[in-house]
C-alpha cells in the first residue's frame, strides 16, 4: 500500500463519521427536542467517563449497562444456536423434514421480537426468561438456514468418500458433515448474533430490566433525550464490535 492509500483507509472513514455527526447537528437545529452531539456528550459525560459506577438500578455507567445487555444477549444467543444448529443439520440431511417445516419456519421468521415478548411473558411469567425466549426465537433462523444450506452444499465427492470407506453414520457426521459445514454454521452464528443484539433493546424496553435498552426506555420516560442518543450510539458500536469478532472467528475457520 502506498502512503496515500494508507491515509485514505484512515481518513475516508473519519470523513464519513464527521459527515454523519454534521448531519446529526443539522437535524438537532431543526428538531427542537433532539439534542445535538455536543449536548449529548455534555449530558452523558458522567456515564461514559465513569462507565462502571452503579448509582441506582438504571442509573449506571454505560459499560455496566452494556455488560448486563451482553450477558442477556449471550445467553439468549447460546440458547438460540443450541436449538438452531442441530435443527439445521437435521433439515440439511432430510429433504422431507425440510419440506415439512419450511412453511412453519417461513412464517415464524418475520415475526418481530415485540410480538414474541408478550407470549414469553405469558409462558414464563418472569421478564428474564421471556427476554431470553424472545432473543432465542428471533435469532435462531439464520443459523438454521445457513447450517441447512451448508449440509446441502457438501460436494457429492465427500458423500462418495463416506460411502466407499463405509463410514458409520456417526463417523460420517463427525469427520465429514461437521467440518464441511462449519464455515456456513459460523456465518449463521454471526448473523444470529447480530439479530440477538437487535432484539435486546426491544426485550429490555418491554421487560424494564437494566441494560442498554432498559436504560434507553427509562430515559425516554424521564425526558432525558441525550441519554437516548448515548444508548443508541452504544448499541451501534457494540453491535459493530460483535460482528467484527464473529467475522474474525469465521475467517479463521475458513482458512483451516
Amino acid at each position: 500500500m502506498t502512503l496515500t492509500q494508507r491515509l485514505a483507509t484512515i481518513l475516508l472513514p473519519l470523513c464519513g463519521i464527521a459527515l454523519a455527526v454534521l448531519a446529526w447537528t443539522a437535524a438537532s437545529r431543526v428538531v427542537n427536542d433532539l439534542p445535538s452531539p455536543i449536548e449529548t456528550w455534555r449530558e452523558s459525560r458522567l456515564y461514559v467517563l465513569e462507565p462502571l459506577t452503579k448509582r441506582g438500578e438504571m442509573d449506571q455507567g454505560i459499560l455496566l449497562l452494556a455488560y448486563y445487555s451482553l450477558v442477556r444477549v449471550t445467553r439468549g444467543f447460546l440458547l438460540g444456536i443450541a436449538i438452531a444448529t442441530p435443527l439445521g443439520f437435521l433439515l440439511g440431511v432430510s429433504p422431507a423434514l425440510t419440506r415439512m417445516f419450511d412453511p412453519v419456519m417461513q412464517v415464524m421468521r418475520p415475526i418481530s421480537p415485540l410480538a414474541w415478548l408478550p407470549l414469553g411473558l405469558i409462558i414464563f411469567r418472569k421478564s428474564e426468561p421471556a427476554a431470553l425466549f424472545a432473543i432465542a426465537v428471533c435469532s435462531m433462523w439464520p443459523t438454521v438456514i445457513n447450517t441447512t444450506a451448508g449440509v446441502r452444499a457438501i460436494p457429492q465427492d465427500y458423500w462418495n468418500v463416506a460411502k466407499v470407506l463405509r463410514l458409520s453414520r456417526t463417523t460420517t457426521f463427525l469427520k465429514i458433515v461437521v467440518p464441511a459445514t462449519l464455515p456456513y454454521v459460523f456465518t449463521g452464528y454471526r448473523l444470529s448474533l447480530g439479530i440477538a443484539w437487535l432484539v435486546i433493546v426491544a426485550s429490555e424496553m418491554l421487560t424494564g430490566t437494566p441494560g442498554v435498552g432498559g436504560f434507553l426506555w427509562q430515559e425516554y420516560n424521564s425526558l432525558v433525550y441525550a441519554h437516548i442518543l448515548l444508548a443508541i450510539v452504544t448499541i451501534g458500536v457494540i453491535g459493530f464490535l460483535l460482528d467484527r469478532l464473529m467475522g474474525m472467528a469465521e475467517t479463521r475457520l475458513r482458512t483451516t
Binding site: 465427500y158 460411502k163 470407506l165 469427520k175 465429514i176
Partner: protein, 262 residues
C-alpha cells in the same frame, strides 16, 4: 478360495433425467465379469458413461435394471467381514480439513475397526511411505501438488488391503510426466499386493495396455455398451513405452478399431 468371477455385471442399464420428462439413456445392456486377481480396464471416450458404470459396479449408484454381484453378494454392502473395496477418484476426493495421514487413517479405521489406534496410524503411515509420501504426512491436501494428492488417494486405497480396487480415471487430472510415474507406481503396487482385483476406467489406450490383463472397449454413449474384451498378452513388469513391440501394437490397433467402429 472361491473360484469364478469376483465382479459380475449383467444387463446393466441406467438413464438420467435431463430437462423435464426427457431421460438420457447412458448405459444399456452392459455385462462384464472380472476374475479374481485380474486387472481389467474399460476404455472409452469422455462422456461415454464409463464413470457411471464404475459407480454402479462400486455400489455408489444403483442401476435401473440388471444385476451387480461382487463375489456372489451385492456390491459394497457394508457387511462386516465382506470384501474390502477401494475407489480412487479422478479428482482425488481427499478431505481438505485432514492431513494426508489423517485422510488415510480414516479409511484404515473404518476398514479395521477392531485394531488399535496405534495400528491404524502405523498402517496409514506405511501406506503413505509406500507411495513416497513419508515426508508429507502432516500436510493438508491444499499444500500438496496434484500428483501428491493422487498418491495420497492411492495410499488410502491400498491402506485398507483391498480385495477389489476401482479406479476412476485415476491419472486424468495429472500432467503427462506425473501420470507416467504414477502409472508405474500403480503397476508396482498392484503386483506387490497379490490377489487384488482391479477395474479401471480410462480414456487412454496406452495406459490401459500398460496396466491391464484385459481391455474392454466401451462404445460412445448415449446407450453405451461394452465390446468384446481384448486380452493384453504382455509379460510384467512392463516398460513405460512399448515402442514397436508387435503384441502391444496389435492390442492397440484392436482397441482403437473397436472404439471407432460403431
Amino acid at each position: 478360495m472361491k473360484v469364478g468371477p469376483i465382479i459380475e455385471l449383467e444387463g446393466i442399464g441406467k438413464s438420467f433425467a435431463t430437462s423435464g420428462a426427457a431421460r438420457r439413456e447412458v448405459l444399456q445392456g452392459v455385462s462384464l465379469s472380472v476374475e479374481r486377481g485380474e486387472f481389467v480396464s474399460i476404455v472409452g471416450s469422455m462422456g461415454s458413461g464409463k464413470s457411471t458404470l464404475l459407480n454402479i459396479a462400486a455400489g455408489l449408484i444403483a442401476p435401473d435394471c440388471g444385476s451387480v454381484r461382487v463375489s456372489g453378494g451385492p456390491a459394497v454392502s457394508g457387511v462386516e467381514g465382506s470384501l474390502n473395496a477401494a475407489l480412487v477418484f479422478q479428482n482425488y476426493s481427499l478431505l481438505p480439513w485432514f492431513t494426508a495421514l489423517e485422510n488415510v487413517r480414516l479409511a484404515v479405521q473404518a476398514a479395521f475397526p477392531k485394531r488399535s489406534r496405534a495400528e491404524h496410524v502405523a498402517q496409514a503411515r506405511r501406506s503413505l511411505e509406500l507411495v513416497g509420501l513419508g515426508g508429507a504426512l502432516d500436510r493438508r491436501p491444499s499444500q500438496l501438488s496434484g500428483g501428491m494428492r493422487q498418491r495420497v488417494a492411492i495410499a488410502r486405497a491400498f491402506a485398507i488391503e483391498p480385495d477389489i480396487l476401482f479406479l476412476d480415471e485415476p491419472f486424468g487430472a495429472l500432467d503427462a510426466l506425473t501420470r507416467e510415474t504414477l502409472r508405474q507406481e500403480l503397476a508396482r503396487l498392484c503386483a506387490e499386493s497379490r490377489g487384488v482385483t482391479t477395474l479401471m476406467i480410462t480414456n487412454n489406450v496406452d495406459e490401459a495396455i500398460l496396466l491391464s490383463d484385459r481391455i474392454v472397449p466401451m462404445t460412445q454413449g448415449p446407450r453405451a455398451t461394452l465390446r468384446a474384451p481384448i486380452p493384453v498378452p504382455l509379460a510384467r513388469p512392463r516398460p513405460p513405452s512399448f515402442g514397436t513391440n508387435a503384441a502391444a501394437l496389435r492390442v492397440r490397433t484392436a482397441v482403437v478399431e473397436a472404439l471407432t467402429a460403431c
